[in-house]
Subunit: 371 residues, 2 copies
């Protein structure tokens, strides 16, 4: 293989594939990046078997077709330290690779390109389409609520559910549900119900460009999801197992509704969490709603906290306790100035939404308050 | 104790003392910050027994004199999360402390202020004075060269040597010397020869304000150094032991001198270090100087590197090998466009200075090159 390519273009594409490189694999080839040159097309690929990323065509002068797998960390560092000029990359039949830029010349040993694991095959028949920025935003508003507990692997991912053009992204960790809804379009898109690991979903969002109006196409097979925007292609493994039937958890009825200034409430619960932070289960934050006033308090071995906020409320007063972390996470995903809290009983979940924007919904289970 | 103080002023002063708080001490009191209020003066103090920091007077309304020691991390977090308004801090005879701001109220348990270790006594007779920014700059240009090896503790600090108004700051790790020189003035300043731990010296520099022309006064006793600028006061423990007699290492004579563009040389050695990075001692970077050309190369199990730079040189050609890290560290401290390298033999140290600025000098021992 022999190509010439600008150093800045190499660096840009390295940043796209870098997160799909395995960092501590038992297979040396997974710590590599694949460089492949065919006719006028040059690409880089990384694949840690969870997520695979292939760049789009990179403008390069291909002198000799072929491929080589290079230690990704070393190759990235070399490119990073090169001056902004044309870079020659040439590898021989033994995968000895020369990287030359101006007078600086590196010679490193690569591995055969053929040994690099190919991108999983995804048959491209029907896809769903959504704005890349909207997808990113949906993931950001929900992904923190996936389970950190590996004992039920399917809950460490996010559910992507497509039903008659309606796209739901859902994360559930057993104590809370984060749900975000949007519309999708596509070429005869079929309904889908797949779970993507949270880590790779976050990577997909990082890799997708942030241009306005850019559409991302999503393709699904039994085992994989593929996302592309015309440039890089990302393929993620799917998680197997039964996802929690989240819809039946969101009941329509409620007894008490409170409208609260979002930032005031957020700062208040953050303060409370300083006192409640150790042993959350025993020492939650107590919220009391009573005719236009919400009090937030916490009493633990660390100390006491008490604060009051003026609110608008409907329905009977209520006293209910929560893990403050869950409230904080939810409030941070809402853009509206005011948030709506809907309560049924002190032992039933609370639903948090924006005042007007109902596309994102959080359901949080209360904790029993021992005091 | 009872005071009222603005939240932003509290936060500002917390940032000054925070780095002197012990993070994992066996003594709970060392993880505290001392709040002390006397008449119209309110101060905060932190002391981990290596370094002690006392703020200047903080503008506060003192209702009741007294002192209390509060868990620093918790107190800092509480203040950080409070709104920008007046904060009331009140502690009773049992050190139960109320922190109140608008409607938010915390109650936490403190420890008796009397149990907090007092600032070491430093008799203020004669001091040396230097611009704070100059002191910071001198430390930044040398402190990386202190020894990381605890077996000779005195070398983990920097020597502060004052001799007839001349101030030298010196770091030595056994393989290199970094020396920075400046003038000092002061009220009958005596000669001094003290070693300050690198960590606390860096902290002193962080705490000193960055205002132009601000003078810092340095006072020394047998066991402590004190730095003050009129605001906060920092006291550091000194290190005991015999510092290396560094002066005799800087010989005046040399055989070969090279003038090199600093950034070109720096980038070149950084590239070489990618190949030389594992097992530095066996695989150093080789520098060859020969009539206006310097070549930099490295051959290791990782790969080969070769680069060339045009230079101006005097004297015979030379081939000499170094740990590239030491060259990189030295080059980063020099501001001149060109650096001067002075060599005697392939087995003698190299001296690196600026082309014109001779206030900072680096001496680096070569490595034997096996190849």
């Amino acid at each position: 293989m022999q190509i010439t390519c600008s150093r800045n273009l190499l660096l840009e594409n390295i940043q796209i594939v870098s997160k799909a490189v395995s960092s501590r694999s038992t297979l040396a080839i997974l710590e590599c990046v694949l460089l492949s040159a065919y006719e006028d097309s040059f690409k880089m690929t990384a694949n840690d078997l969870e997520i695979a990323v292939e760049t789009g065509d990179i403008a390069a002068d291909v002198k000799e077709s072929g491929s080589v797998a290079l230690d990704a960390k070393l190759f990235f560092e070399i490119v990073r330290k090169l001056p902004d000029a044309q870079v020659l990359i040439r590898s021989d039949e033994n995968n000895v690779t020369v990287i030359k830029c101006q007078k600086a010349q590196f010679k490193i040993l690569g591995m055969p390109g053929e040994e690099f694991p190919a991108l999983p095959e995804v048959e491209k028949t029907k896809y769903a389409s959504i704005k890349a920025n909207e997808l990113k935003n949906m993931v950001k508003r929900t992904v923190f609520a996936v389970s950190a507990d590996d004992s039920k692997p399917v809950l460490t991912g996010e559910l992507i559910e497509i039903n008659k053009g309606e796209l739901n992204i859902v994360a559930v960790d057993g104590y809370r549900v984060a749900l975000c809804q949007a519309h999708t379009s596509g070429d005869g898109v079929e309904d889908a119900y797949v779970v993507i690991p949270a880590k790779t979903l976050s990577e997909i969002c990082r890799i997708l460009p942030s241009e306005d109006d850019l559409e991302v196409k999503l393709w699904f097979t039994k085992n994989h999801a593929l996302a592309e925007t015309g440039g890089p292609v990302v393929v993620s493994r799917l998680l197997e197992g039964d996802f929690i039937k989240y819809k039946q958890l969101f009941t329509e009825g409620y007894n008490t509704k409170a409208l609260v200034d979002r930032m005031t409430f957020l700062m208040c619960v953050e303060r409370a969490s300083l006192i409640a932070s150790r042993e959350i289960k025993k020492n939650p934050v107590k919220i009391k709603i009573d005719e236009g006033v919400m009090s937030v308090s916490s009493f633990t071995e660390i100390g006491d906290f008490y604060d009051e906020i003026d609110i608008r409320s409907d329905g009977p007063g209520i006293e209910i306790s929560f893990n403050p972390r869950f409230i904080i996470d939810a409030l941070k995903t809402i853009d509206d100035e005011n948030v709506a809290l809907r309560f049924t009983t002190p032992l039933s979940p609370c639903v948090i939404t924006g005042d007007e924007d109902l596309n994102v919904k959080h359901l949080i289970l209360p904790l029993r308050f021992n005091g």
